[in-house]
């Protein structure tokens, strides 16, 4: 039987295909990440995916929702991947499991599940982990140790005792601590950690994936472009004011989660604004907050907090950015 009322035809897109495309476009970045930083990333992604599907299944059963329909929308998997890609590759397994559980159970389903969550679930999961376990969450794998699979596996499975052998600070973190010790930006930029080209390759991978998302019209230009341009402008202005204290724009654009955030995190439709102007304002807000937290705040990376704060503002942003209705100009 066809629909009771028109329209009787429909386009081909579905939530599942959109989410699958998001997962596919994460692959270039994921592959480069694994290539440069070892299989620890893959372990994180796998354990997060399994946890997310399991948690979603249990909750759907408890809420008496059709598990098959809601599991195959793949939103839980996208949340899992985004969280796993934000967690250091040398984190023990329970970190990822805990973060994913919190993201799916609390940030997603406590708010009503798909479509109802006020906050980006992956970012809530990340923020909880960062606040609760700062020591684990700020130590990243030194790319020169990628061949030591045994070591990363034992870290994944167990203790954090032999951490220091393979861990190092991220470029953002390094810049922050070195500046505090009195070095200037140009000195720091010449050091190998700050010039971590592997990290920039990963950013490039996410950028490519993001471009595909744009071309396939899964996302519009408003969020990523505004976000990157704002970050570029703010970083450039500060760098111009004092090149010794503030890193150049490319440092901010290519390090940390900038690219992942620009195309995959701030573009979460559920917790973001819906109007074109609202998206522009939302992206400006996040980029500004990210810069402020990175440069002036207590954490080396500020995307999670910036996104969560901006999520709070979404209803207001939407309300104030309503486009003019046809003929109402």
């Amino acid at each position: 039987m066809i629909n009771l009322q028109s329209p009787f035809v429909q386009g081909s897109s579905s939530v599942s295909t959109i989410m699958l495309l998001v997962l596919l476009t994460l692959l270039p970045g994921l592959f480069l990440y694994i290539h440069f930083f070892g299989l620890g990333i893959l372990l994180n992604v796998l354990i997060a995916t399994i946890t997310a599907i399991f948690a979603e299944f249990i909750i759907l059963k408890i809420r008496k929702l059709p598990a098959k329909i809601f599991l195959t929308d793949y939103t839980a998997v996208v949340t899992a991947w985004l969280l796993a890609l934000s967690i250091p590759s040398i984190a023990p397994w329970w970190i990822t499991v805990l973060g994913t559980l919190f993201a799916i159970v609390v940030a997603k389903h406590f708010y009503g599940g798909i479509g109802s969550n006020l906050f980006n679930p992956a970012m809530i999961g990340y923020a909880i982990l960062l606040i609760s376990f700062p020591a684990v969450m700020t130590k990243w794998q030194n790319p020169s140790h990628i061949n030591d699979m045994g070591l990363s596996l034992s870290i994944f499975l167990g203790g954090i005792d032999n951490y220091d052998a393979i861990a190092s600070a991220t470029p953002l973190d390094y810049l922050k601590t070195e500046l505090l010790q009195g070095k200037n930006v140009s000195q720091i930029m010449n050091e190998p950690i700050a010039k971590l080209t592997q990290m920039q390759w990963v950013s490039f991978g996410f950028f490519i994936g993001g471009i595909i998302l744009l071309l396939t019209k899964v996302i519009t230009w408003h969020l990523p472009l505004t976000y990157l341009v704002t970050l570029f402008v703010i970083a450039s202005i500060f760098h111009l004011i004092d090149p010794n204290q503030f890193a150049p724009f490319q440092f901010h654009l290519l390090n940390g989660g900038t690219m992942l955030a620009a195309f995959f995190i701030i573009t979460d439709p559920v917790s973001g604004p819906t109007t074109p102007n609202g998206k522009i304002f939302f992206a400006i807000l996040i980029a500004t907050l990210v810069y402020v937290i990175r440069v002036f705040g207590g954490y080396p990376e500020g995307i999670a907090f910036a996104v969560i704060f901006a999520n709070i503002c979404v209803p207001l942003i939407d309300k104030l950015s309503q486009p003019k209705v046809f003929g109402h100009e």
Partner: protein
């Protein structure tokens, strides 16, 4: 010739599969005489037409069966000669599935015309043309069925008509009746445009056509080569380009608000088939008794038919090879805005532009509906630039005031939002529901207001009467002097005394 070229693109719209080639491979076919004619007395927007025949009457082709009742109505004519069999309620092609008054005619096979005469339209003024058109039965043949004579005026005095737009967009998938008409009756269309152009006294006539109708475009381009004031403007194939206000924007760059009419802006628009109908009426005196219907979709031989109004739809479907699947569902109109026919045992009406035998890939009721993920694809697709996701939220939670504040009533129900929704939410159905709730609420409110006013008036009246009574009594009291009062008392005393006497007398008697 081409003075302006610019196309003003409206927001969004969709590019669905047009499926038009299903029914354009064969030319328009004359369906001929059906076994019976069932003429609904309301085939238009407005009042039921007033009956002019009775059962048993013999009618001629083109004879008036029912005349327009007032201005917002349209006349009905006999599509062929024959005998009036019955006048009763029969099933009509309407989404409600409710029967309405119909005149059933049994054709006598002679197809004999009533005497018709052409109008010397060049000699008479618009008002007279209008009066004539009121008797022509012509309504908008694009599917809306709005009485045409209502549209033939000069517009407001301070803002006289400047542009005639011929809506040849035919943007809904499947429908090809206008396309085929333009291909086969190109000259008649141009003559019609010139006629309406002259009657309205406009400066320019613009044909707005979607770029997917290449055959018609070529023919029209050739036909208007030497016309100074007729322009062809090709618009991209983006549904709903054929919506009147969207087409006006595409062609002229003017955004006409919901509350206003195009004539307020010096523009009047007619559909291709309507133009030809006006031409045939004024030039030859032929009233509206037939139309082109696209019979398409899941059928053996889909095509366009020229059909007498009142022809049973089932006979045409059988002619088109019959149903491929037994008891298939049929859609009247396009797949985006049309409606499910309650049955195929309904007659062809003036509004019936297309009949689609539903296809397997059409939306199924049972497809799972997911929650809205706020992806805003609906907002990107909305040609009115509404925020469908917000309207959905407000409609679903019955925040009707909010829905209105977000311009629910600007929604044209084109279905683009539902079409693109990845969560498969039947958005338009929510808007229809919310609109009807609001209208109902308003009517109830109005009823309540009337009742309250009545009650207040009653209380006021009672109070007034009370006051008046009091005043009257007071007046009477004042008027009656002291003298009168003593007289009154004495009279009463006398009466009592008399009564006492009577009692005494009675006692003695005992």
């Amino acid at each position: 010739m081409k003075v302006f070229e610019k196309i003003f693109k409206f927001n969004g719209g969709i590019q669905a599969k047009t499926k038009k080639n299903i029914s354009t491979t064969s030319p328009i076919k004359q369906f001929g005489l059906p076994s019976k004619i069932i003429l609904p007395l309301r085939q238009h927007i407005g009042k039921l037409a007033k009956l002019k025949v009775s059962v048993g009457d013999h009618v001629l082709k083109g004879q008036l069966i029912a005349e327009a009742d007032g201005n917002v109505s349209a006349a009905i004519h006999a599509p062929t000669s024959g005998k009036v069999l019955s006048i009763e309620k029969q099933l009509i092609p309407h989404p409600s599935g409710l029967p309405d008054f119909c005149v059933e005619i049994e054709p006598d096979g002679k197809d004999k015309w009533v005497q018709i005469k052409p109008t010397n339209w060049k000699k008479i003024d618009l008002e007279k043309v209008n009066k004539l058109l009121l008797s022509s039965g012509i309504v908008g043949l694009g599917g809306a069925a709005f009485p045409t004579h209502l549209k033939l005026n000069h517009g407001k005095a301070e803002n006289s008509l400047k542009t005639l737009i011929i809506n040849a967009a035919e943007c809904e998938p499947y429908i090809t009746c206008d396309d085929m008409l333009m291909r086969e009756k190109t000259n008649e269309l141009i003559l019609g445009i010139k006629l309406v152009h002259e009657i309205l006294g406009v400066e320019e006539s613009v044909i707005g056509i979607e770029d997917n109708k290449t055959v018609a475009i070529n023919l029209l381009t050739k036909a208007i080569e030497n016309e100074k004031n007729i322009f062809l403007k090709i618009v991209p194939t983006i549904y709903p380009s054929g919506d009147a206000k969207r087409l006006i924007y595409l062609l002229k760059g003017i955004k006409i608000p919901k509350s206003q009419r195009s004539s307020d802006y010096g523009i009047q628009m007619f559909n291709v088939a309507t133009i030809i109908a006006i031409y045939r009426f004024l030039e030859f005196g032929e009233p509206s008794i037939s139309r082109i219907v696209t019979i398409t979709g899941n059928l053996r031989s889909p095509r366009n038919y020229e059909v007498l109004l009142g022809t049973p739809l089932k006979e045409i479907i059988d002619a088109a090879g019959g149903q491929v699947i037994k008891n298939n569902t049929f859609i009247m109109g396009g797949p985006m805005m049309g409606f499910k026919l309650p049955s195929i045992n309904v007659p062809v009406t003036k509004a019936m532009n297309c009949i689609i035998s539903s296809e397997p890939d059409m939306v199924e009721e049972k497809k799972p509906v997911l929650p809205c993920i706020r992806c805003a694809r609906c907002a990107e697709a909305c040609p009115v630039q509404l925020q469908p996701q917000e309207l959905f939220w407000f409609s679903k939670s019955k925040q009707l005031e909010k829905a209105e504040e977000y311009n629910l009533f600007d929604c044209i129900e084109c279905g683009c939002c539902s079409y693109v929704c990845p969560s498969n939410i039947p958005l338009v159905q929510y808007y229809r529901f919310a609109k009807s709730e609001i209208i109902e609420e308003r009517q109830e409110q109005e009823q309540a207001n009337i009742a309250r006013e009545r009650n207040e008036f009653r209380i006021l009246r009672l109070e007034r009467e009370k006051q008046e009574r009091a005043e009257r009594n007071a007046l009477r009291r004042e008027q009656s002097s002291n003298e009168d009062k003593t007289k009154l008392i004495e009279e009463k005393r006398k009466a009592i005394a008399d009564a006492l006497k009577r009692i005494e007398a009675g006692g003695e008697e005992q």
